[in-house]
Structures are given as C-alpha cells and as structure tokens.
C-alpha cells in the first residue's frame, strides 16, 4: 500500500481525513497551496489545491473529482494524483516542464455534502443536498446544472430523479463556485472532470449531436491518452463525444467549459465495468489512479505543447 505520512492512498477516507491530507501536502511542498473557492449548500468549504511554481495568472489546467458523491474511486484517485504531481516536480521531466509553464488546480471533492452523506446516511447518494422548494425530494444532479443546453433532453425536470437538472443553471453553489472561479481566472486551457465507472474518456458535446469544431484534435488526443492508460494494466477504454459514446446529457460540466473557450475539455469515467460499479474495492484505487495518471499526462502535455 502506498502511503504519505500516515495517509493510506489505497483506502477510502472521510472528508475530514481528506482535508487533513490536503493540509499535509501543503505543509510538505512549498509550491502547493490550498485555496477555498466557495462553499457547498450545507456550508462546507470547497478546497482546491493550487500547484504553482511562480508567475502571475499563468495558463492553467483544472482537474476535479467527486461531483457525483458516490463515485468514491474518483476522490481517492484525485488524492493519489495530487501527491504524484507534488512529489514528481523536480524529478520527472514532464511534470517539471509543465509546472514551470503552467499552474494546476485540483478540486478533489467537488460535492462535499453528498460525500459526507454517502459516509453517514446513504452510500448510494449521487446528487447535491440542496432542498427543492415544494418537493419532498432533495438534491440536484450537479452534472446537469451547468449553463449548456440546460433543461433540454438528457436531464430530468423531476426533482426526485437522479438526473434532476435543478431549478435554474448554476443553482447549486458547488457548480456556481467553479463557474465563478473559471470565469475570474480567465486563463484555463484544459478542464478535466473525473467520474466513474464505465471506462470512458469523453469530450463535448453531450447536449447536441453537432460536433465540436475541435472534434478531430480532441479525438486524436483521446486516442493517445487511452493508449497510454491501457498500456499499464490493459484496461479497456472507449472514447468519443459524450452523446455518441454513451448518451445524451444536457447541462453537463465540460459542455459549458468548452463553450467558455476551454478547448481541452474532457471527462473521465474511471474503472470499473462488469463487477463492482460504484463499489470498486479499495485495493484497486492505486492501480486506477496510476493508469488514469498516464492518460492525464498525455492531455496535460498536449495542452502545454499546443497553447492557444
């Protein structure tokens, strides 16, 4: 098992443990900073790790995990990745070159209310925990709440549905906080959102069948990233646009980021397919993170080398 101090990367952890590990990383590495970009519906802080070796408002890469709270392997992988980025700077030529030119932002728990709820009340909880006026049901699907085809086919208007899009775009503070951050930063060049579990690497769009103008380039980058991922353990991934590869989904994260001008917008669906679904055993966290890292590196290197 892989450890950093007392933290076991090969295990699932509570939100408090995760936040402690973020503090530990900040204390260990001078170029890592913890910033708060907002708070959740239940007033939990949304913490982002900023990896920066200097400069002002450098071009940046964004990574987030856990927007669907029950996808525990994503938050766990994000922590492994955070540690990998920090520990590889100065020793790995690729990461060193990347961080010498760009900043990196990592949000390991994008839906902290839902995550705590999965630990305390319902392991199968997926949505936020916001209360909907006039409804007995709680929560909005934060991956249907973005202002990109909001409310169209591919999301539900039923507040009890797992894919409820919410009353209006950005109604969820978890979503609004990221939207505000991305807009105020203004120089984010790649945006990767990490989900589980059907082994896919996807690019926009999900709300329309119209191909994105950069489809060919995104497809080629995806192919290269998936090849790198599969080279480690042979895990089979499919790739393509959301709507052609899995299903129509409106109001999704990366459709909005792409429409904001962030060309390299991708979403991962990590392991597993065929055995455990959202309940991937902890012993698979590190292998999952390791293989995902190889694909992420391809995307990040491509972004670095093809600045726009």
């Amino acid at each position: 098992r892989q450890r950093s101090g007392s933290f076991d990367f090969g295990a699932y952890h509570t939100l408090d443990d995760i936040n402690s590990e973020l503090d530990h990383l900040v204390s260990e590495y001078s170029f890592v900073e913890k910033i708060q970009i907002g708070e959740s519906y239940e007033k939990r802080p949304l913490y982002v790790l900023k990896f920066s070796t200097g400069g002002s408002n450098r071009p940046a890469i964004w990574l987030d995990a856990g927007i669907h709270s029950r996808e525990w392997v994503t938050q766990a992988s994000a922590l492994w990745i955070a540690n990998k980025i920090a520990s590889d700077y100065g020793t790995d030529a690729s990461i060193t070159s990347l961080l010498d030119k760009m900043d990196l932002f990592l949000l390991p728990v994008a839906n902290p209310d839902g995550f705590v709820y999965t630990h305390t009340s319902n392991r199968m909880w997926r949505k936020t925990r916001s209360k909907i006026p006039g409804s007995i049901c709680v929560g909005v699907d934060p991956n249907r709440n973005w202002d990109a085809g909001f409310g169209e086919a591919g999301a539900s208007g039923n507040s009890c549905s797992e894919t409820y899009h919410g009353p209006y775009p950005n109604s969820e503070p978890e979503v609004k906080s990221i939207v505000d951050f991305v807009k105020s930063h203004g120089n984010i060049k790649a945006f990767v959102s990490i989900h589980s579990y059907s082994q896919l690497l996807l690019y926009p769009y999900g709300y329309t069948e119209t191909p994105v103008p950069d489809q060919q380039e995104l497809h080629e980058v995806s192919a290269k990233a998936v090849a790198a991922l599969s080279s480690l353990y042979g895990t089979k991934y499919k790739y393509g646009s959301i709507i052609t590869t899995i299903y129509r989904a409106s109001g999704g994260t990366i459709d909005w980021t792409y429409n904001q001008g962030i060309k390299y917008s991708f979403t991962f669906e990590l392991r597993d397919t065929g055995r455990y679904g959202f309940l991937l055993p902890a012993k698979q966290i590190v292998p999952t993170a390791e293989e995902t890292w190889l694909a992420l590196k391809v995307i990040m290197e491509h972004t670095r080398d093809n600045m726009y």
């Binding site: 295990a11 952890h13 392991r123 199968m124 009890c160 894919t163 299903y247 065929g274 679904g277 309940l279």
Partner: protein, 93 residues
C-alpha cells in the same frame, strides 16, 4: 445509515432499439424505485440498475417476459458495503 439488504444490481444487455425502449419504460415506473447506474440509451451500451429487494422479482419477471438478457452484477449490495466498511476500519487502525 441506510441499508441495502437484498438489493441487487443487474447488468442488462439489449439487442435492439425495441428493448432499449422497454427499459426506458421500466425507468419511468417510479414505484419500483430503481436506481439506474448506467441509463438505457443505445444497444451498444449495457444498462446497470440497482433494484430494491422488494422489486427484484418483478423486474426480473418483466425482463424475462420481454426476452431481455441480463446477468447479476451484485448479488447482495449490503454484503459489498459491509466489506467496504470493514476495509475502511482496518485501514484506519
């Protein structure tokens, strides 16, 4: 903590658009309280669905009556959750 004793997760493989539509119909039946882990969309994509214990027999009967192929992904969800909890406790120690 909510328990999931007897909940099963089925993996359903559709052969044609008609079967996808049948699953979309199933999806709309709220009283069954189904939790689609992967929603029905196209024949190339399998459908994974968590079924509460009380609905397992009805759903299986529906699938069999329509000739839709399925397999059991998780026999008893609570068993898997108990194992996960035990692993976490051991790691914390």
């Amino acid at each position: 903590l909510e328990t999931f004793v007897g909940h099963q997760v089925l993996r359903i493989k559709t052969k044609n658009e008609e079967e996808v539509k049948q699953l979309q119909l199933l999806e709309s039946l709220e009283h069954l309280e189904l939790d689609f882990w992967i929603n029905p969309s196209a024949t190339a994509v399998p459908v994974d669905v968590r079924i509460p214990a009380v609905s397992v027999q009805s759903v299986k009967a529906f699938l069999e009556s329509q000739g839709i192929e399925y397999s059991i992904l998780i026999e008893d969800l609570q068993d898997v959750l108990d194992k996960e909890k035990q692993d976490m406790a051991e790691s914390a120690q």
